[in-house]
Symmetry: C2
Subunit: 335 residues, 2 copies
């Protein structure tokens, strides 16, 4: 960083493209990219301010221009690339899930600790204004005592390629898109999760090896009950909020569709005592905020909010849910 | 019934008042009422066509004018009154739940069988046009293969009197109002329930002995997963349908509030292939239909749709959910 700007290389231009776009706008970042697919590289070069490109991950890790890598690769590549990046002294942002299983996650976490580099998972939910504000309201006691948190992530996604493979992803829908909803649930529940019970199905995307749908009940250590449904097999969901939090003095939810946004009804808020009110939120996207946070954690030597502890806890809940679905039994955390 | 009209006595004019109103409109029924509360009796006499009144249950059961009783009493009175009614040769409609526990339910069922009288639980959900039509659509295969059924019965009810007592009700919210949602879930799931996992809380109505909120996941024997939330502690729920059924070829739901009603989206229905359509439903209420069904079962010697098997299965799921919530373990049915 002696050279003034932080050199970040986005490795993998799938979801990584969105990260690259965010880094590209930052004054204090030099964006580099690396992808085996030349077309993706050319598109990024045409559309974004790209300082340089790399053909292989080894070249990225050997380059003194690179301070940090953003690993947006299939799940089965996270661990090896992250460990090598740590050993090369590069800070690490890794796309969710941190890894396919806890053993891989722990290797990554240890490697980052040993090397003294930052390790952050790209869990944008934790930076989404609706979740940040909901946590603030809950923390201020506006809902009284919370007793129920529901998160419903329902949609239709035709999965292809490596994401069909249980070996490559570590599971199915829940460890993939679903882990965002897991983070939202954990984040709103206000405590560690104690018990996980889950049932999964795969009737819609029969080409997948893992589940396309999961239904989970958790109990947090503070007694809050959580209810989570995630699915790639629902093209037309019935009316539902993305998340809803119920407390003794009110409720809040993120509404979808027209009039979407965060709503709160609380007997502790005069303006929202009778009818729910829509909350004004900052116009920043969770994606932008997470990328900025990663950069600031490096520049200011801070611990990332979605650092090893958060990243591992999300994955732990997913692994517990899979174990529960397989055995038909609840699973107690920590694993 | 040689006297031309069926003599039905509604015993208990709480929820029983709604039943009395329905019987009162029927040409082939003579309505009698019985309640210790004189004010309720007078109100019913003023508002409904009441053929006669009784001061005590024994008088009801001794009267040759009475062919059938409609027992709308606290749960802890169901069994004794029903068994005596059966022994007196009276047909029996009993308010939900059939009883506080399966032992009581079985005594009632055996007594009715021995006496050769009808026994029906007043589960109006099973007669609600939205549920009847949803079952029809599912049965016709319009949703393809069903994989997920959700039922959310969320509201605020300030519970008082005997309903606060676990001893008198057999539990809390789930065995009381909640059992309607249990019936809806079972009814839409299309098979017997195999596994029940439940968590309950009671943070809002602290004066209750039982739970005010329950969150339950079930697996049906056909592999369908069910997700059920019932609560008396939620004054402002987030957006949700009452029930939603998801299948491989579409979904259907009962929408609440403005534009409430049954909606379906199905790739097998040309008119609902892209966008959900609202379904025309008969203008009959489930309450009316259930009372009429009881009368017809007696007059035409038919087995009630919500007879012993259905009534017991709803209660069995509730009992399993309570056992699960207490132990933290899933419970397998049959108990």
């Amino acid at each position: 960083m002696g050279k003034g700007k932080l050199g970040i290389c986005v490795v993998g231009l799938g979801i990584g493209y969105a990260h690259a776009r965010n880094y590209s706008k930052m004054e204090d970042v030099d964006l580099y990219i690396c992808d085996a697919d030349r077309a993706k590289v050319e598109r990024a070069k045409a559309e974004l301010e790209v300082k340089g490109t790399f053909g292989t991950i080894d070249e990225v890790l050997e380059s003194p221009k690179i301070d940090a890598v953003d690993i947006s690769l299939p799940h089965d590549m996270h661990k090896d690339v992250a460990v090598k990046a740590a050993e090369a002294g590069k800070h690490i942002m890794v796309e969710k899930p941190i890894a396919r299983n806890l053993a891989e996650a722990d290797e990554m976490i240890e490697a980052a600790e040993r090397a003294g580099v930052k390790l952050m998972v790209a869990e944008w939910q934790r930076f989404a204004p609706s979740i940040v504000k909901a946590r603030e309201f809950i923390g201020e006691g506006l809902l009284g005592e919370v007793f129920l948190v529901c998160v419903y992530q329902l949609g239709f996604v035709r999965i292809t390629g490596w994401r069909l493979s249980k070996e490559r992803t570590g599971g199915g829908n829940l460890i993939d898109s679903g882990i965002h909803a897991v983070n939202a649930l954990r984040s709103l529940g206000g405590a560690d999760v104690e018990i996980v019970f889950s049932q999964t199905t795969r009737l819609v995307l029969k080409e997948m090896e893992g589940e396309d749908t999961s239904v989970t009940v958790v109990r947090f250590r503070n007694g809050v009950v959580g209810n989570l449904i995630t699915s790639w097999g629902i093209s037309t969901p019935g009316p539902h909020a993305y998340f809803t939090v119920y407390g003794t003095d009110g409720s809040l939810w993120e509404q979808l569709g027209d009039d979407g946004g965060l709503y709160i009804r609380s007997s502790r808020l005069p303006e929202a005592d009778e009818e729910p009110v829509k909350v004004d939120l900052p116009k920043v996207s969770g994606f932008e905020a997470e990328c900025r946070h990663f950069v600031e954690c490096i520049l200011e030597d801070k611990e990332p909010i979605t650092g090893p502890r958060e990243a591992r806890a999300d994955l732990e809940l997913v692994v517990a849910a899979y174990r529960s679905a397989e055995t038909g039994m609840p699973v107690r955390l920590p694993l």
